[in-house]
Symmetry: C2
Subunit: 133 residues, 2 copies
Amino acid sequence: MKQTRQTRQRRLVLEAVLQSRDHPTAENLYNRVREIEPRISRATVYRNLRVLAAHNAIRQMKSAGVDRFDWKTEPHYHLVCAGCNTLWDAPIDYQGGLDELAAQKTGCEILRHRTIFEVLCADCAKKPAPRPE
Amino acid sequence: MKQTRQTRQRRLVLEAVLQSRDHPTAENLYNRVREIEPRISRATVYRNLRVLAAHNAIRQMKSAGVDRFDWKTEPHYHLVCAGCNTLWDAPIDYQGGLDELAAQKTGCEILRHRTIFEVLCADCAKKPAPRPE
DNA sequence: ATCCCTGCAAAATATTTGCATTCCG
DNA sequence: CGGAATGCAAATATTTTGCAGGGAT
């Protein structure tokens, strides 16, 4: 693992993620950090998010086109609303047994699994056409 | 659901997905269809993939930056190798119980969940630094 | 002093959209 | 015929990279 340095920018990016509870995108974080350090560049934010995620200081997740970031690094599940795309943590324990099962069935080394529930939140369930097309 | 028409291009895109067993990207499919219909445009391929997925004729999935497409529309899990990014179907049954659990815990209407196992395939497990940085 | 990190601009990647034209139903 | 669908080019959106100068250790 390559050596890393402590810089103002890196610290600000890390803090921005740690303080967030809304699974922000890189662009969200860029804007938040810019309120404190207006001269920071987008590239620096992206670079630091990559470095921090590689060091497991934060967690990176794929969702509908954009990556999102999470302060909580231990494995956990998420919910995403199919109507409004809101994303939040699922109140469901990580199913470690699935990893054992997968190891038995495949013979591969299982690092972890990621699970996302597609749901309709209370608001979107009320609307007429929750699943358009 | 809006009316859809049967066109040569749409048929070719659908067939390309149905015949694939390798979870191709839109770009992959564009290239495959062009072997048969060289005049098709990328936009048409993208548009048709979107329409077909919305109609549940094919399945669309997020993976490491690019979307991939799947002929198998019923819910199932995937494995992706952290080393080489190869992606394949997991030989593990869909855990419908998780959806019931999520419904109880959240009160939301659960549509489904998507699970992807991050693994090291046999080849990548042999290599020195499976998880760099 | 070394060499990682930054800012800026440009490039790369992935996907969508405007518009005139084509052609399915 | 009416309006979906197409092809092409340009536009978006997101993320990465080259490079010269700056700063952490």
